[in-house]
């Protein structure tokens, strides 16, 4: 009971208070709280964001597979930096290479000897031997790489 009678004058003082001063105090508190939260959460959000990975500068790789190891109508997955590529030997014996990352939702594609073209198991996407998306959900062709055979080495490079 004694508490209440002690509190009342404080209440009244507040309600008589200068409104512009009250508004200023409110603004001060609000901005400091905002700044405080910002100062806490900005580093946390930045912390959670992974640092950008160094793009592998390599635009050319020499494969561990030798040309004669890959027979017609088969394919191999290879590492292109940190990404996957697919090396196809077409039924007619030509070597071609593409990015193996499906343009739909980035599963790794595979070669289907029964169909004679590239296929993505995830949502049944099909690509022809030029990497073009021919059916299913993939919206774009697979990135094509250039294949060079130098003696018994296969060299795959980006760009033309």
């Amino acid at each position: 009971m004694t508490n209440q009678s002690e509190e009342r004058p404080v209440h009244e003082a507040a309600s008589y208070g200068d409104t512009s001063r009250k508004r200023f105090i409110g603004w001060l508190l609000g901005t400091s709280a905002g700044a405080f939260l910002g100062a806490v959460f900005y580093p946390v959000v930045r912390y959670l964001m992974p640092p950008p990975a160094a793009e592998s500068a390599a635009s050319t790789v020499t494969l561990a597979i030798r040309p004669e190891d890959i027979t017609a109508n088969t394919a191999e997955i290879f590492k292109f930096g940190s990404r996957a590529g697919i090396l196809v030997r077409t039924p007619s014996g030509e070597l071609r290479a593409f990015s193996a990352i499906c343009t739909h939702l980035s599963c790794i594609v595979q070669y289907r000897p029964d169909l004679g073209h590239i296929w993505c198991a995830c949502h049944n996407g099909h690509f022809d031997l030029n990497g073009r998306n021919i059916s299913g959900p993939p919206p774009a062709p697979l990135e094509a790489f250039t294949v060079n055979v130098r003696e018994d080495q296969i060299v795959v490079s980006k760009g033309d």
Binding site: F78, L105, S106, C107, Q110, A121, H123, N124, P137, P139
Partner: protein, 364 residues
């Protein structure tokens, strides 16, 4: 009510400090309406029970699990093959997760069709839908942890979908993956989500949800209300709770049987440089979305098909969250047939697409 004896005195001592008698009064006052739909009231408690099973088995799994791309798969192999009852704990964790999501879905749809979301229970509904979201987050992050081939590609697809959301997508995608690709960094991150972030969110939401259920009591469906209200009431304590208990013990028995007869498999270890296997599929509760993506053409009105699908699912999720605010008729105690039909439509769509997901030939 002063009791005698040392135990009585201890109770009195505790009561003076904790106010136990008030809690007791609260428990005695709580009642559950009895009518033809009373059965559906048990689903929420069932989901909560399964969640507690998840907490218990999850804590046990942490003793052996090692969250890195090099060790995760091997640590689970060890757990399944060498650790005594390791297979049991892991299988119960996996089965209970599935059952929990299943009962959560049933709970959601029963609340939707019985219109239990109408005022003043809007926030109960909001917290419930968010809890379902958290549960699916648990499923999504937990699926990757064994680092098996299937889970690896399901996660690639899942995070890529999150990354395809307009505006925030690339930020969310990188934040989830911990880099540009699904890698060991993703595994560690998912582990952090799975055992710290999501449980914390879950406990908070469950607290809000339960507090509100306690505050507002059980909702009586409008059709029961119109035909003269509930037949009667049963006390929550002990009548309802004992019935709950029967359900929980039965579920525990079912879990044990499922775990013993169908122990969870591990599959092949993930290899980021191997083609996605032909049978790739997500957990069953994501299947309807996964299957929808298969049927969407590459481009719809010039926009990539999967982006359309993802926007569609996002909008559907937001609409689901807002149901109590959209369904204006039910708040006026009127019949809201439209929302019943939409609810049934959604259930049928999910059932059909899930069925197709498991039966359609994935290779043609």
């Amino acid at each position: 009510m002063r009791r005698r004896g040392p135990l009585g005195r201890l109770l009195v001592w505790l009561d003076d400090r904790l106010g136990l008698a008030d809690l007791g009064k609260l428990a005695v006052k709580k009642e559950v309406p009895v009518h033809k739909h009373t059965l559906w009231y048990y689903l929420g408690g069932m989901t909560l029970f399964l969640f507690l099973v998840q907490v218990a088995t999850g804590i046990l799994l942490v003793f052996y699990y090692r969250p890195s791309a090099e060790h995760a798969y091997e640590s689970i192999q060890f757990l399944m093959a060498e650790v005594e009852f390791g297979w049991l704990i892991r299988s119960i964790h996996a089965w209970s997760a599935n059952l929990m999501i299943f009962t959560a879905f049933l709970h959601l749809f029963s609340v939707l069709l019985l219109k239990a979301y109408r005022g003043p229970r809007e926030i109960t509904w909001l917290s419930g839908v968010m809890l379902l979201g958290v549960a699916m987050g648990f499923g999504f992050t937990g699926y990757l942890l064994p680092w098996s081939e299937l889970s690896y590609f399901a996660t690639r697809v899942g995070t890529e979908m999150a990354g395809a959301v307009p505006l925030v997508g690339s930020f969310v995608g990188r934040m989830l993956k911990g880099g540009d690709e699904v890698s060991g960094a993703t595994l560690t991150r998912f582990y952090a989500f799975h055992i710290w972030i999501l449980p914390a969110a879950c406990f908070l939401l469950v607290a809000v949800h339960l507090f509100l259920v306690q505050k507002h009591g059980m909702s009586v469906p409008p059709d029961v209300e119109r035909s003269g209200g509930a037949k009667g009431h049963m006390p929550f304590f002990p009548s309802f709770l004992l019935r709950d208990l029967v359900g929980w013990l039965s579920v525990l028995a079912i879990l044990a049987a499922l775990a013993a007869y169908f122990p969870t498999e591990l599959g092949e270890k993930a290899d980021p440089f191997a083609p996605a296997p032909a049978g790739i599929k997500p957990e069953w509760y994501f299947m309807f979305m996964f299957q929808t993506l298969k049927y969407l053409p590459a481009h719809i009105l010039g926009i990539e098909g999967e982006v359309v699908g993802i926007i569609g699912f996002t909008v559907a999720g937001v609409l689901l969250l807002l149901v109590p605010f959209l369904d204006r008729r039910v708040s006026g105690r009127e019949d809201s047939r439209l929302f019943t039909w939409i609810g049934i439509g959604v259930i049928l769509y999910i059932l059909l697409l899930t069925y197709l997901g498991y039966t359609a030939d994935p290779t043609i």
